[in-house]
């Protein structure tokens, strides 16, 4: 299965939200990374058919999705940003409602709901009202509803925002398990989520594709450009002015800076292994702490 996005454009007034964006997605998890306002949500809304692109084309297995709209929608599972669902619905009831919306046969609906509730570890809470769910439980329920139609394309928009670390890990593991036979597009600005599970990372800036690479390759591209420097407060101000700073920690009156720089920023700078977050900062940089 291949989802091709060819030169897709979208403008809001004079602002280009997507500018000739192209990408090819096959099986696996794709991390869609970009700062706020980079066009991630716009791209997702176009992919799921909520927004009409101003130009370009999206094909699935070679066919224009506009021409196979119903079949294409049947293949999509979608979890939007910050869904709160219906507070007065119980989890099971909500999933059965979603089955009805998705046109899933009643005969299979109950079985599918059971399977998914088990998969997202909500079997015990199936008769609890969604209003009583934590953020993490809601997101797991969201994943379950997205999986009801056993989609070939699973699109998740900021699925881990607002989750505590335990829920985030749990959520990442679920996504990993789901990625075997489908395209999973995971839009986020939480880099660590992608670092662990993405097969490829799509970097988006101002509506344009910056890179589509495997995480290892991206990490390799920045090798030798991430430094650890120990500095006092005066020196720190100097570093902040002249470099992209990834992280700062304070220890016994001294501060340790993580610096992204093509050249060695100082004599005492030590080269360290890069993380995906460093790639993110390198691409979208201009960060002063």
């Amino acid at each position: 299965m291949t989802l091709n996005i060819h030169s897709v454009k979208k403008c809001y007034g004079t602002k280009n939200a997507l500018n000739n964006f192209s990408a090819e997605l096959t099986n696996g998890v794709y991390g869609l990374l970009g700062p706020n306002g980079s066009g991630k949500t716009t791209l997702i809304n176009i992919l799921v058919g909520l927004l009409e692109a101003d130009g370009g084309e999206i094909t699935y297995n070679g066919e224009n999705v506009k021409k196979i709209r119903t079949q294409y929608i049947d293949k999509i599972g979608f979890l939007p940003q910050y869904p709160s669902f219906y507070k007065n619905f119980k989890a099971e009831q909500f999933l059965l409602y979603m089955c009805e919306l998705k046109g899933i046969d009643k005969k299979f609906a109950h079985q599918r709901v059971d399977e998914l509730l088990q998969m997202v570890n909500l079997s015990q809470e199936r008769n609890k009202k969604i209003g009583s769910f934590s953020g993490g439980m809601k997101q797991r329920l969201g994943i379950a509803q997205a999986m009801l139609n056993d989609p070939e394309i699973l699109i998740l928009d900021e699925p881990t925002a607002g989750l505590d670390p335990v829920e985030r890990v749990r959520f990442r593991n679920i996504i990993s398990r789901l990625s075997e036979n489908r395209i999973v597009l995971l839009a986020t600005h939480i880099v660590s989520d992608i670092e662990y599970i993405a097969n490829e990372v799509i970097l988006l800036k101002e509506g344009k594709l910056v890179a589509q690479e495997k995480p290892q390759k991206l990490l390799k591209s920045i090798e030798g450009r991430v430094w650890q420097v120990e500095a006092d407060e005066t020196e720190m101000a100097e570093y902040v002015r002249n470099h992209i700073i990834g992280n700062v920690t304070f220890d016994n009156g001294k501060c340790n800076l993580r610096i992204i720089s093509a050249s060695k920023p100082s004599e005492n700078a030590v080269s360290i292994s890069p993380k995906l977050e460093d790639v993110f900062l390198d691409c979208f940089g201009e960060v002063n702490i």
Partner: protein, 410 residues
């Protein structure tokens, strides 16, 4: 069908709706209980029991025996009245224990039975005049006026009242509109969020990308509302009937509607029960149009505050417009107001038609057709507005993101 069930649950199976419904029913019953009692010239316990005793004798089919009973008693008491010979002492032979009490009781039954007995004779004067008019206008080639008069003959001809019942309770029942106001308020409270709830819960996007998302969902919501609207119309009508029966007594369900003196020239040949049912259906249609309008507002906006605000403004506009149109600004415009079907008695209590292509059409039919057209237009409008409101989701995401993080979104 299952989608409709889910939509019904989403829209109406809420604590707030149950509480409002219960509260409004209580308020409605209280309001009926505080309606002014029937005006009585005299009132004491024996008077009322005497009235009931006589009513038990005379109610039902008007037989010669019953008529004689009322006429003889009334004449006897009238003669005493003329002679100023009423005794102030209790009299065990009187139904109310007093001459004066019996006189008032029999006067009421005499007048009521006189109206019923002579209805046909009194009406025949109008019918004969209408028949003459038909010939008169046909001779002069005025076919429209001839049709009008022919319609009067067709509607009012052959009418008669064969049974007597005290219909005061029904007369008051048909004048009562407060429950309709409560139903409109309930619709406003429950329907203002009918579509905004989807964007506010983040479900809008999921619904719109689902197979049965757009048109199916709109139809299911509309269907759920129609069911709820019908349920509350029937419920409030039933509660009104029970409360009025307790307060005033309702009798003569199957007597003709024109047996109520106020509806002497009522334009439809129905029983009282028939009019209760018709009025309920007409109100239900009016509530449907008003409800659809509120849903339309909800489909236009992303926030319940706006849809509730605009809906409330529109409902008050409708009420105000009904008042001004009744005052005579434009009687035709009043037909286009859903309230004309709620207070349908104003269109039905006298013969009144609209000239449509030189054919007299009863106003009630014009109003009914107008409301059905409005309902269709509103359903199409909701479908269009809801399907097109996709950009709103982007704005919502932005808004929600800002709420969560204080930033912008990608």
């Amino acid at each position: 069908m299952r989608l409709l069930r889910y939509e019904f649950r989403k829209l109406f199976c809420k604590k707030a709706v149950f509480i409002c419904l219960a509260l409004f029913l209580v308020i409605n019953v209280y309001k009926i209980s505080t309606l002014p009692e029937r005006e009585n010239i005299t009132s004491y316990d024996e008077y009322f029991s005497g009235y009931d005793a006589v009513y038990d004798i005379v109610k039902g089919e008007m037989t010669e025996e019953k008529i004689l009973f009322v006429v003889e008693n009334y004449q006897e008491l009238s003669a005493l009245n003329e002679q100023n010979a009423f005794s102030n002492d209790p009299n065990e032979n009187r139904f109310t224990r007093y001459d004066f009490g019996d006189y008032i009781v029999f006067m009421q039954f005499f007048n009521g039975m006189d109206y019923a007995y002579n209805y046909s004779t009194n009406m025949s004067g109008y019918i004969n005049l209408a028949k003459e008019n038909v010939d008169f206008f046909l001779e002069r080639g005025n076919e429209y006026e001839a049709s009008v008069n022919q319609q009067i003959v067709d509607i009012y001809g052959g009418r008669g009242i064969s049974a007597y019942y005290d219909t005061y309770g029904f007369s008051e029942f048909f004048e009562y509109d407060f429950s309709s106001l409560l139903i409109i308020l309930l619709l406003l409270l429950s329907l203002a969020s009918s579509f905004t709830m989807e964007s506010e819960s983040g479900m809008d996007m999921l619904i719109k990308i689902s197979k049965k998302g757009r048109q199916h969902t709109v139809m299911a919501k509309t269907g759920a509302f129609v069911l709820f609207g019908f349920f509350i119309t029937v419920l409030f009508t039933a509660v009104d009937l029970i409360a009025f029966d307790i307060k005033f007594g309702l009798d003569g369900f199957f007597n003709p509607i024109y047996s109520i003196e106020r509806y002497f020239t009522f334009t439809l040949n129905l029983s009282i029960f028939g009019y209760v049912m018709l009025s309920m259906v007409l109100k239900f249609i009016a509530f449907t149009v008003i409800g659809l309008f509120i849903m339309f507002c909800s489909s236009l906006f992303g926030s319940v505050v706006y849809s509730f605000g605009v809906g409330t403004f529109a409902v008050f506009g409708i009420i105000l417009a009904d008042g001004t149109t009744k005052l005579g600004a434009s009687k035709f415009l009043a037909l286009l107001n859903p309230l004309s079907l709620i207070a349908n008695r104003y269109m039905l209590d006298t013969y009144s038609v609209v000239n449509i292509f030189d054919y007299p059409v009863l106003k009630i039919y014009v109003a009914l057709i107008a409301m059905l057209i409005f309902a269709m237009v509103l359903i199409v409008g909701i479908m269009f507005a809801y399907s097109r409101r996709s950009i709103g989701t982007k704005k919502l995401s932005l808004k929600m993101f800002k709420l969560h993080t204080g930033g912008a979104v990608g």
